[in-house]
């Protein structure tokens, strides 16, 4: 079983967690180092001390090190920490708990996050598969590079943690949003490959432009697969967003699938939220 990383936690927090979680959970008290990949942890817990700025910085580095994987980052607030919760969440934390919170609530919330992710349903695969195939094919056609589909999960991801995202709103028989999210370095490489120019020749504007074009192509070519089904949609104009922690609106009550692809030792993600409108089937 994958271990839970207790990042530099005090004795008090470590004991509390050992007490809250069932004895099968494997707790590792370690210190997160930059450039360490966190893909293989089940959960990350870090404790806040007086230096919030450093903590925020560390949270966002950890969120990046998770490479879009669904790894909950739990912040345990020290007793003196009255820093607004929102800042931790915006930096990439999944949940913020405190030593003074009721233990029963903490236990339930932690256990909730430790329950394994569900696998997609057949009817969900029906619309996710075309997105997976077309993402791989668009990247292959445009860059001659290979993007490999790795894994997927469903989440409540209202927020997107990456450096740059292309977003397309879908409307028509089905409604929803598709989001393509990169870290800078990979976006940089992909756009320069697309344009067949040196990486130095790429600037921020071209990256924005190119990412918008990529999401446009992915959702445009996938749309063809849905002709005649209740998943068919029309595209709106792509929106490009920079920075991390942005909130994206999704239709209410729809599930959001996050598809993760690996390319050149890095990862990128495609969020798909597609909900057939009522009355069509």
């Amino acid at each position: 079983m994958k271990p839970i990383l207790l990042n530099d936690c005090s004795r008090e927090v470590s004991l509390l967690l050992a007490d809250l979680l069932d004895e099968k959970a494997l707790l590792l008290n370690e210190r997160f180092e930059n450039h360490k990949r966190l893909d293989d942890y089940r959960m990350i817990v870090l404790e806040t001390r007086s230096d919030q700025k450093r903590v925020l910085n560390q949270i966002s580095k950890m969120r990046y090190a998770c490479n879009f994987r669904n790894i909950p980052i739990i912040v345990m607030r020290g007793r003196e920490d009255h820093f607004p919760v929102q800042h931790y969440i915006m930096a990439g934390a999944t949940e913020v708990l405190s030593l003074t919170d009721p233990p029963a609530a903490c236990r339930q919330i932690l256990q909730g996050y430790l329950i394994p992710d569900r696998r997609p349903l057949d009817q969900e695969m029906e619309y996710l598969k075309p997105f997976i195939e077309n993402t791989v094919s668009v990247i292959q056609t445009m860059t001659s590079g290979t993007a490999e589909f790795r894994e997927m999960y469903f989440s409540n991801a209202f927020r997107i943690f990456g450096d740059i995202s292309g977003i397309i709103g879908l409307s028509g028989d089905a409604e929803g949003t598709v989001v393509l999210t990169f870290y800078w370095a990979l976006a940089w490489r992909i756009i320069s490959k697309m344009m067949q120019v040196q990486e130095e020749a790429i600037n921020a504007e071209l990256i924005h432009d190119g990412v918008g074009e990529l999401i446009n192509m992915i959702s445009g070519s996938t749309k063809k697969n849905f002709v005649g089904t209740h998943y068919h949609y029309e595209l709106s104009l792509p929106t490009v967003v920079v920075g991390s922690g942005h909130q994206i609106g999704h239709p209410e009550g729809a599930s959001i699938a996050i598809l993760i692809f690996d390319m050149d030792n890095s990862s990128f993600a495609v969020h798909v939220c597609l909900k057939p409108m009522k009355g069509t089937s």
Partner: protein, 125 residues
């Protein structure tokens, strides 16, 4: 030979230009349909081909195509639609409006080159 590449994406225009240049074309860029029309009207003589994106701000590719086909001067210039819209319906809509060919994005440079030479052959006939 001269070609107008109309696409609101600079990245896309660059990619397309890289394909058409070896075919012997000199490329002019336009960011929307309006710019295509003004390039034509400015008397950029001897335009041999227009590669037109569909979804563009201000004046979209299909609207621009309609205007070109209605004009006296430019109606004979081959216009290839280049678009992410890839359903048969959409392709038919573009062809009905007078497009000389249709390329859906993403495309390989080989495909694009092939469609361009086919359009030129047709024109030659």
């Amino acid at each position: 030979m001269k070609v107008i590449i109309a696409d609101d994406s600079q990245v896309m225009r660059t990619i397309i230009e890289k394909v058409v240049r070896p075919l012997g074309y000199e490329a002019m860029h336009a960011c929307n349909g309006q710019e295509v029309l003004s390039l034509l009207e400015k008397g950029c003589e001897g335009i041999d081909l227009i590669l037109m994106d569909w979804n563009m701000p201000v004046l979209n590719g299909l609207e621009a195509l309609n205007l070109i086909r209605k004009s006296n001067q430019f109606s004979s210039i081959p216009v290839l639609m280049v678009s992410t819209e890839s359903e048969d319906d959409k392709i038919r809509q573009a062809l009905d409006a007078g497009a000389s060919g249709y390329i859906s994005k993403p495309f390989t440079s080989e495909t694009l080159a092939a469609v361009i030479s086919k359009a030129q052959e047709k024109r030659g006939v």
